[in-house]
């Protein structure tokens, strides 16, 4: 009935130079490391990466920066990966820093058919540069815009064969939001289970949002 399991080779074929990719995770917790392996192996270049942070130079999506496959990151934090800062100062990597709450809400917006939202975060700081400011009842807000990607690579602790996803503990972070905001969504299943094994209340990403399932243990 559902036929979403995909191989390493099929994923590799989906990857192109110049792509915009969202990658789930928070400082490499809840990050699809085995999917990142495939991006590394394929060696695609000039990527734009949307993520919470750039993790470490040898862990998480930081590995893509170390190998210079990325030309632009849109993130809230780069402090854990000195390589990001180095490439930025050398002029090789464009870094857009976005407040974390604004970044995740922009992703939600991009996946929810909303045209933007008003947030008080960033008012009176350099974050407001180039943005429309709207005052309501005397309070200033920035109009922040939705963001989407061609591809989202996410992590799932438990995934059923229909594509329903459960994220354990703090692996949830950006993953369920990104699953709504990309044209193609691939989940790396830490554990793949049969349909019916997940309590329906526990599902955090409904199956129709998942395009493909990658189950490294089954390879």
């Amino acid at each position: 009935m559902f036929n979403k399991i995909i191989s390493k080779e099929e994923i590799s074929d989906l990857l192109k130079d110049d792509m915009t990719i969202m990658i789930g995770g928070f400082i490499a917790c809840g990050t699809p490391e085995r999917l990142i392996d495939i991006v590394l192996e394929k060696g695609v270049k000039n990527l734009t990466i949307i993520a919470n942070d750039t993790a470490f130079s040898d862990r998480g999506l930081g590995r893509l920066i170390t190998l210079r496959q990325v030309s632009h990151v849109i993130v809230s934090h780069i402090g854990t990966n000195p390589e990001t800062g180095r490439q930025m100062f050398e002029g090789d990597l464009k870094v857009d820093l976005v407040p974390q709450g604004t970044l995740v809400e922009r992703i939600r917006c991009g996946g929810s058919g909303l045209g933007g939202f008003l947030t008080p975060t960033g008012v009176g700081t350099i974050v407001e540069e180039g943005k429309q400011k709207i005052t309501i009842d005397g309070v200033d807000y920035l109009l922040e815009m939705p963001i989407r990607a061609e591809l989202a690579l996410i992590y799932g602790s438990i995934v059923d064969k229909a594509g329903n996803v459960v994220y354990n503990a703090t692996t949830r972070n950006f993953n369920p939001l990104m699953a709504m905001a990309a044209d193609t969504v691939i989940v790396e299943a830490q554990k793949l289970v049969d349909i019916g094994e997940i309590q329906p209340e526990l599902v955090m990403t409904p199956s129709p949002l998942i395009t493909h399932i990658y189950a490294p243990e089954k390879q």
Partner: protein, 223 residues
């Protein structure tokens, strides 16, 4: 004309049921649209969304087997498929507005040749409210209106809706017991006709202007 209303509705439901592909996510309105579930081809798995918080909605619950914590958007007790899941209303409408629902099928008080739809209010008479309809027609990838071709002899498919709109320029397809129309930026096209009817009968019962391209015209698939 098909005088038997139940037969007419069955024709509409059967035709719409042929529209879906495997594993597509579909939201059906209350009433006629819900009848579509009875005619889905056996080799096609359609995933039903209910805007009160279900993906993978199954049939209505059997009597005395109802779970009072599982209802559909009309308040009826329903079942859920093994691949199903639940979510809150904000997530539900994020899915709906965010173009994650492939098809929404709704009834109409009026629909017009520009793809505008009125189905939520008759001012001063009947004011049920729009519920989730305004979000569904704006957000779903494809909007199908299911309606009897006429009501008390009057065409339901107008040049321009007169009642307050549910949304402007959103309908992709109109299915009646006599015909299937496609709404495009170039106008309303008759794409299929009921073999028991005729283009002349359809024209006589349709207020809207519509275009017929003979070589593209098909017989409605309802057998």
């Amino acid at each position: 004309m098909i005088e038997d209303v139940n037969l007419a509705k069955t024709i509409i439901a059967k035709r719409i049921a042929r529209e879906f592909k495997n594993n597509q996510l579909v939201n059906l309105g209350i009433g006629l649209p819900t009848m579509v579930t009875n005619y889905i081809p056996k080799d096609i798995n359609v995933i039903f969304q209910s805007e009160n918080g279900i993906i993978g909605m199954g049939p209505v619950a059997e009597l005395a087997k109802e779970n009072r914590e599982i209802t559909n958007a009309g308040g009826a007790y329903v079942t859920v498929m093994p691949y199903g899941c639940y979510f809150d209303s904000a997530t539900s409408f994020a899915l709906i507005r965010g173009k994650h629902v492939e098809y929404t099928v709704l009834g109409a008080l009026e629909v017009d040749q520009e793809g505008s739809l009125s189905n939520w209010i008759i001012p001063g008479k009947k004011v049920p409210g729009m519920g989730g309809a305004m979000d569904l027609v704006v957000g779903a990838k494809n909007v199908i209106v299911s309606t009897l071709h006429t009501e008390r002899g009057r065409s339901k498919i107008l040049k321009k809706c007169k009642l307050p709109l549910t949304a402007k320029h959103v309908v992709n397809m109109i299915v009646t017991e006599l015909a299937v129309f496609k709404v495009t930026s170039g106008g309303l096209f008759l794409s299929e006709y009921n073999k028991d009817s005729s283009i002349e009968e359809i024209r006589a019962n349709t207020e809207a202007d519509f275009i017929v391209v003979e070589e593209d015209l098909k017989v409605m698939d309802i057998d």
